[in-house]
């Protein structure tokens, strides 16, 4: 349990680094040095020390929205297995708990945005909800299919069924272990769901964390924003909490990806190292991806997101095939 708590705290700490690494990657790609890796954390501290300016048109909903969003992200994080080990808590059906706790956080962010009465924030809220609604089926098809294939309905349970090998580092050597793992994966029913799951999760990082090409986190143009425009009225600690919940959400989805990749047989320390390595890889690839593409036209974003659903449908097809076999 105490190890699980340490892993949980590690994920929180890493989330700032991940956000910093994306920014750094983009800066290096553009030929600049970029801000320090911990800049998101410094910003977090700086914002916490400021006071908030709250619009007179808002109601108490606006005041609680940032805390609710962060609380939701922190709660959802408790059921995510980190570094190849079981989550802090796990129970049957916790992937539904995970999805809807995050949805509740979003619900409050959107309410807070609408509460300001600004036409910008209304526009942003409408876009955010549309895109979230579009990515949701993909997540549930993937997780549902995996639950059906593994017979488990908690994320930890599902991940525990991923193929592991009899070898461990001590006996067979590293290469043999890797080859063994690849062999085990290649014959597993879970191979295609795992690959598709990673693709869908990568896409949902982009949508949920408001990254390119769906949203441009660096833009100053209110009319083109999705997530950023919803928090225009937030300042000081409120803004810090919202930004933190957003980075945590991004790391959560990244962690789900690492869970699929990290094999169960590695030692806890190796698991953590692998976990950090894969997260860094994800951050760098997001950074590079954002550096080389242009943002999508707003009307094309739904097509992009529905792409995730079609990838998820492949898993469903595999599942049906398996059932008929």
């Amino acid at each position: 349990m105490s190890a699980a708590i340490v892993r949980y705290l590690l994920m929180m700490a890493v989330s700032f680094l991940m956000a910093g690494l994306i920014v750094r990657t983009k800066a290096v790609w553009a030929g600049r040095f970029g801000p320090p890796l911990l800049q998101p954390f410094y910003d977090f501290i700086r914002l916490l020390r400021k006071s908030s300016v709250i619009s007179r048109t808002t109601s108490p909903v606006f005041a609680i929205a940032p805390s609710a969003a962060l609380a939701a992200a922190l709660t959802a994080a408790t059921v995510v297995p980190i570094a190849g080990r079981p989550a802090l808590i796990h129970f049957d059906g916790d992937f539904i708990f995970f999805a809807y706790t995050l949805a509740m956080g979003k619900f409050f962010t959107v309410l807070g945005a609408l509460d300001t009465g600004s036409s910008f924030e209304g526009m942003g809220a409408s876009r955010e909800i549309t895109f979230t609604a579009l990515i949701e089926p993909a997540f549930f098809i993937i997780m549902g299919s995996m639950a059906m294939l593994t017979g488990h309905t908690s994320i930890t349970g599902i991940y525990s069924m991923f193929p592991a090998t009899a070898y461990d580092l001590g006996q067979g050597g590293f290469i043999t272990s890797i080859l063994g793992a690849i062999g085990a994966w290649s014959t597993s029913d879970l191979l295609i769901p795992a690959i598709c799951g990673n693709i869908v999760l990568m896409m949902s990082i982009i949508v949920e964390a408001a990254r390119m090409p769906v949203d441009d986190p660096t833009t100053h143009l209110e009319l083109t924003m999705v997530h950023e425009v919803m928090i225009l009225d937030s300042s000081g600690p409120d803004l810090a909490l919202i930004n933190a919940s957003n980075t945590i959400k991004m790391t959560l989805t990244g962690t789900l990806i690492t869970g699929i990749i990290i094999p169960q047989w590695v030692s806890p320390l190796a698991g953590v190292v692998l976990y950090l390595f894969i997260l860094a890889l994800i951050a760098v690839s997001i950074g590079i991806f954002e550096s080389i593409i242009a943002r999508l036209r707003m009307t094309h974003v739904p097509q992009f997101i529905l792409g995730a659903t079609s990838v998820a449908l492949i898993v469903l097809a595999v599942l049906m095939h398996g059932v008929h076999r």
Binding site: L221, T224, A294
Partner: protein, 489 residues
């Protein structure tokens, strides 16, 4: 139709040579000239000594490379039939006339203030519940100038955009009349900070024309070099700006970097990265030496090389193209009716370019062929700007490639001739920049009038974004790149 005075770009005429019509006759004449394919360059009024207003119109006949002018006398509060219903491109000129002189263009469809931000707001309200309004500005998120944009939208689609400007109004035209007329170039340079050379040239030329000062050929070339450097630099800013707006990082970084090399060259030429303090009535203030000439040519070579690479990236990236193509379209017909000029006109199939149509300075010898595209979308506007950069590099290489001539760069101007009228047109990077200088009986500046390309082009933006998504507005806006300060004066 009355007989209009034929004048030339930058050639002064005695004020009395411009025929005086009745206001009605002037208005109908303008409308029929517009039908014949002429463009309005200037249409303004100024108070005369006997408490009336003199209205002066200058039209450009681009096919015969000439200008025509006529005038009318009118009283404050007098009304006439508006020209706008017959020639929409005059809509802003008539609104400005109304605001500045109190003469009323009757049946003008939209007689709202141009620059008076204290006046009661004049906005069309959407009827019914389906459409909603989104108001942006005048204070914006980025470090840009102030302007108020009011969108009437249904969901993400823009029905119409209303633009209210005037927040930058500094009274530039009135300031020209204060103090010594020969000391006013810094004011001209401040009309729009991104078109320093264009406005300074138009102003200095007007003063020189009235003083009868001859400009040395060397100074003419140096002015043109500075103007083309300004064009290159600002076109690079525009290309980088659109790249930023669509989140295309390579474009944003690369154009920003090479633009610095260009403005640093302007710094070496003039002592200021934006060209301030270079052009003065009589010539230019700093000379060019062999080393600087080489440097400019080397910069051009490097620019040419880097541009080819980054232009290839930008204009061949499918994601970028999907954002640019068919976005914010202006048809050729609409562009003509709206009276658009410069890059915007050229990208909508209208080859309007003062350097070719009303040539001046070195452009009389080195005629240019305006870069032109027909599609009128954001892509075309960017492409025209990219093409103009290469064109400008070519011009600079031509002027400096074989050495630079000997000679003076400055001839001190003397007193301006009294009772004269002169209009100067210079093609800035945005498009036509026009200054009018009228001297009184004691050689003082009787009236000074400035029209920046932005004055012609702002309405085009409002029309281009109709039926576009509201999230495409920033990229349309950036592709128009109209100046707030240049409009507000």
């Amino acid at each position: 139709m009355g007989v209009w005075a034929a004048i030339k770009n930058g050639v002064p005429v005695p004020r009395l040579n411009i025929p005086i019509f009745s206001m009605e006759a002037l208005a109908t004449d303008i409308a029929s000239h517009m039908k014949d394919g002429l463009r309005t360059v200037q249409f303004f009024g100024y108070p005369t000594d006997d408490n009336r207003h003199e209205i002066i119109a200058v039209l450009a006949d681009d096919t015969s490379n000439s200008l025509i002018a006529a005038s009318a006398l009118a009283q404050r509060g007098q009304s006439y039939d508006a020209i706008t219903p017959n020639a929409p491109s005059l809509h802003l000129f008539e609104r400005e006339l109304h605001e500045q002189t109190g003469i009323i263009p009757q049946r003008h469809p939209w007689l709202k203030p141009v620059r008076d931000t204290n006046a009661a707001p004049h906005f069309f309200k959407p009827l019914g519940k389906d459409a909603h309004e989104v108001a942006v500005g005048p204070v914006h998120a980025g470090i840009i100038e102030p302007g108020h944009f009011r969108f009437i939208c249904q969901g993400e689609e823009i029905y119409h955009l209303q633009i209210q400007l005037g927040y930058q109004h500094r009274g530039v035209e009135a300031l020209f009349k204060e103090g010594s007329p020969l000391m006013k170039t810094p004011l001209a340079e401040s009309i729009a900070g991104d078109s320093v050379i264009a406005h300074a040239w138009a102003h200095a030329w007007a003063v020189e024309a009235l003083c009868g000062t001859e400009i040395s050929p060397k100074a003419e070339i140096l002015r043109a070099v500075a103007l083309e450097l300004e064009r290159i630099a600002m076109h690079l800013v525009g290309l980088g700006g659109v790249s930023t707006d669509i989140g295309y990082l390579p474009g944003a970084s690369a154009y920003g970097r090479i633009r610095t090399a260009v403005i640093n060259t302007t710094l070496m030429l003039s002592g200021c990265r934006f060209g301030r303090g270079y052009i003065r009535p009589g010539g230019v203030l700093s000379d060019i030496d062999e080393k600087l000439r080489k440097h400019i040519l080397d910069m051009c070579d490097e620019l040419w090389h880097d541009l080819e690479i980054i232009n290839n990236c930008l204009f061949n990236n499918p994601g970028v193209l999907s954002r640019l193509e068919h976005t914010g379209r202006i048809s050729t017909d609409l562009a003509w009716k709206t009276g658009l000029v410069g890059v915007i006109a050229k990208s909508s199939g209208l080859p309007i370019d003062v350097r070719a149509d009303q040539p001046y300075g070195i452009y009389k010898k080195d005629r240019i062929d305006p870069a032109m595209l027909n599609s009128g979308d954001v892509y075309a506007r960017l492409m025209v700007r990219a093409l103009e950069i290469t064109q400008s590099i070519g011009l600079i290489r031509g002027w400096l490639g074989f050495g630079i001539m000997e000679g003076d760069i400055y001839n001190a101007p003397s007193l301006m001739a009294p009772g004269r009228f002169v209009v100067t047109l210079v093609e800035g990077w945005r498009g036509e920049v026009s200054h009018v200088l009228i001297t009184g009986n004691n050689s003082e500046i009787k009236h000074y009038k400035v029209v920046d390309a932005s004055f012609h082009n702002w309405l085009g933006l409002a029309l281009a974004v109709r039926t576009a998504g509201i999230s495409d507005f920033p990229v349309c806006n950036k592709s128009f790149d109209a100046s707030y300060a240049g409009h507000d004066l």
